[in-house]
Every structure is written in structure tokens, then in C-alpha cells.
Amino acid sequence: MMFKAFFKPVALAALLAAATPAAAGDLEVNGAWLRAVPPVSPTMAGYFEIRNRGDRVVKLEGADVAFAGGAMLHDSRTDEDGQRRMVHLGSVRLDPGDRVRFAPGGKHLMLMKLSQVPRAGESVEVCLTFANHDDLCTDFPVRHNAP
């Protein structure tokens, strides 16, 4: 199982790295993690906080992940009648100084068509992609609960 062989050695280093923010130029990501799901799960969700420390608007569009056939930005919203629905976000705008939180029950990164499902304790690289900015790649530890 190539997947396990690759992730186990990097798990500790990645968990340590997760404690410090990842940055690409004027963007910073904190508290990134993926929710652990069953090995046969078709999807999994990623959470993080992203901050735009620059002086121009940046638009987050999605992510590239080696083991996922697709990634979408979603928002779980509760309607006035109490219904929960998922809204696909084409992009998330980050004005200068903005800090946007992706958290359970709200905005999240949805990974789809998983070829492999990383396990709790492992860590995987997720590259956030933007309309007008270089990718921001950082390790997302897989956890059962929010850090």
C-alpha cells in the first residue's frame, strides 16, 4: 500500500508543521485539518482559516489534492425553515486584511472522488488554488475532531 507507506513517515512532521501557519506570499493558512472518514467514504471535508495579509483582493477557487478527483468550496447553511443545505461557492473573495474561517457546519472544502482515504493520524498535502494568486500548499492532518 504505497499510500500508507508514504504518509506514515511524514505524519509526525506534518502534525508539528500544522501548528505553524502555512504562507504563500501575502496569504496565510492556520488550523488546517481533514475530518477522518471511513475508508470507503466517497468524500471528505477540509477545514482551515485563511488570511489575506496583502493589499489586493484574492479569490480562493478550490484545491488540488493528489488523491481526490475534485474539490469544491461549499457552505452548509441553515434556511429560515430549519433546513440544512449545501451551497457550492464558485470562489471565496478575500479582501486585504480578511480572515475567512472554514469550519464544521459552515464553509468547508469538499474533496470528492477519492482514490484513497487517508486515515486519522496521517497528513496529506492540499494545494489551495486561486483565480489570481499562486497555489498555497500545506499539510492537512487527518483528525476525528477539530484541533
Partner: protein, 191 residues
Amino acid sequence: MNTRIAIGALLLAALTLAGCGDEPGSDLPVNTRLGGDFTLTDHNGEPFRLSSLEDRVVILFFGYTHCPDICPAVLARVAQAYRNLDKQGDAGLVQPVFITFDPERDTPAHLREYLPWFKADIIGLTGSVAEIKAVAEQYGVVFLKTDGQDEVYDFTHSDFIYLLDQQGRVRKLYPADFDIDEVVNDVQSLL
């Protein structure tokens, strides 16, 4: 949308007017507006009737396995509640039951592979869309499949968790981010 709001209002009314008869040994009122027996297909492909669990308290909830955010979080919380009960020797008296909104993708075989990971002896139920809708209506649950492409579709849905007593009566509803200790205490109040 008007229909959904009307059904939501009915659900709220049902919650507000939840039954009057307190049972000895528990402060949880019986909700006379929601619930009832049903038969669906379990994760082994066999017919499953709720009333077959008459000796157990049931934690009943709805969802679908392609849901990445709320559903796995609810499953994990229900599983934690079950494991906490297990540590106190009460697991044999409680049964988590998961009903999918998505029979197209959540087949018995998929549920059979997906649910054991949560280590909570969860019974997964599926059926035809009509069968699932009928059960959902009994419990005041609304779900609506959203348009999608390439098998990427979601559901708009209510996400209450239901506590049923040994007679299958609804005794309490919880939100998706319920307090695990509260559920454990409520289950034990019914034992």
C-alpha cells in the same frame, strides 16, 4: 419553498406541542406528533422493522454518506455517545439507526462497508425513495435532492436526531451538534 416553510412550521409546532404524558422514571415527555413504526431495508439487504427493537432505546438519525460535513460529524457524535454508554455497560440496551436520504448511492452493500468504521453497531437503513420519504414524513424530516452533474448532487435536509424509547415513541429531539453527555444521560433515564 412555501411547502418547505409550511412543513418546517409544522415541525416546529410538533416540537412545541410535544406530548403531555410523562413516563415514570424519566422526565422526557412523549412526543405524540412525530414518529411511528416503519419497515425499510437494512445494510444486509433484509427487511427491518423498527418495532423489532422493542427492548432497546433507539437513537435515530437521517443523512447520506456522500455528505462530507454534517453527516460524518453526526455519525461520529452518535458513535461517541454509544461508546460512552458501552463503557457503562448499557450498549446492549441502545441501538443507533441511520436512515439514508440517498438510496441510489447508499446501497445496502455500501452501508455495510461504511458504517462499521464508526464502531457503534449502527444499523443502516435504505429503501425506495418513496419508502424513505414516507418514513421521513412520519418524523417531520424534509429532504430535497439538489440538481447536480456527474453524480455530484446533494440534499437539502433537516438534521434532527431522535431519541426513541423501547416502545418506539419519540422522547426527545437534538440538533446536529448535540451534547454527547446529554444524550447519554437521556438514554440512561429511559433504561
